[in-house]
Symmetry: C2
Subunit: 199 residues, 2 copies
DNA sequence: ATTGCTGAGTTAACAGTGTCAACATAACGA
DNA sequence: TCGTTATGTTGACACTGTTAACTCAGCAAT
């Protein structure tokens, strides 16, 4: 029986990975709305309480999914920036990649923002992964500033860049601004323009 | 008995208002996390199913709360902008008011973004109220553009302004950037600077 | 090899949720 | 005064996250 085989497989410890995998799969097809602990357990072909052998509670499972999402997002940003040569083009690519990732994976992005926010005693790896997309933007934008720019100026510009792409993503997902790639890209691009003339 | 008096009062039709009121009260004290239909009914001193005489389902109740929130936000923006004289100062004030409102009412703001997004067949009043804060920003920012600015340029700048303030709010609430009013205000202010030099 | 322990899964149950159906009753117009 | 209708009620259903008690595979040590 394949069930027996699966159960034996899970017994070696890859149930945790399997849960995350089906979780990501569910989020890919959901588009909107939350995902349930029982739902992912059921879809994995395992009892609901089996989840608790690998995660202390639902939040922990969702944070693991969020972590996987942030890693995917970071990969997408790197891939987008790799093709570009200039620093400015790299910044634009990473920013646009952020928004496009959110639009392409709305449910996953929702989980990322909902469960990764303010992670209290999370492991260092998780916090690092979450911060990476922001750091990515931060480095690219900092390289565009004048050499003598103050740390304060760098902070402000970095925060603006993060807020711009995060806000764009959220507004498009919320339907408050149309999902028009040209418009989105223009909004990101002109931020780069701004930086060049700024103080 | 006050209970009897309340029930009689509700019978005249102000239960709907009462539910919204206690809902807003609950959101004020919650800080984080969702609110429940049964919870607000219980707190109002009424049975859970009574809610269904005034709202078709939980989503409708939450959208009503979101609507009330948007109206409050708009009032806060107007109050902040009223004191200012120049258009540029008005824009800054409305933008900062947006972020500060979100930080001051995190749970309510969460409901606004979660339930007001993509309202399908909502009444015109609701959509209008939701759009008002954005319109507020839009008008203020448009007035800063050169007279001959294309509609496209206006759209892009308006979207950037909305994304900036919305993103700032979300990032502060998520703990991804520190809740430092000076930093936030600086981020909003320098967006105004940018506009002035832009093409 | 048997024994016993531990890790990883199971079922059963509990509190809580949103929602529906059936019932009660207050308020008002004929 | 008497229905009718709007506005409440209780009871139930399916679902959720979570806990407790149980089963049992697989490995370590005698």
């Amino acid at each position: 029986m394949e069930e027996l085989a699966n159960r034996q497989a899970y017994h070696h410890g890859d149930l945790r990975s399997a849960l995350i995998e089906t979780g990501l799969h569910l989020l890919k097809t959901k588009a909107h709305g939350d995902i349930g602990l029982r739902e992912v357990a059921r879809e994995t072909g395992v009892s609901a309480t089996a989840v608790y052998r690998h995660f202390p509670d639902k939040d922990a499972l969702m944070r693991a999914l969020a972590l996987a999402g942030y890693e995917k997002l970071f990969d997408a940003q790197e891939a987008a920036a790799a093709a570009k040569s200039s620093r400015e083009e790299s910044f634009r690519a990473t920013g646009q990649a952020y928004v496009h990732f959110a639009v392409a994976n709305p449910a996953l992005f929702g989980v990322m923002t909902k469960y990764m926010s303010d992670a209290p005693g999370e492991e260092a790896r998780a916090r690092a992964a979450q911060a990476r997309p922001g750091v990515s933007l931060r480095e690219n934008i900092a390289s565009l500033l004048p050499d003598g720019a103050s740390k304060r100026a760098q902070d402000v510009v970095a925060i603006q860049a993060m807020a711009l792409v995060h806000g764009l993503a959220q507004l498009v997902l919320g339907g408050q601004i149309p999902n028009d790639p040209d418009l989105i890209n223009a909004a990101v691009d002109q931020f780069g323009n701004w930086r060049r003339v700024q103080d």
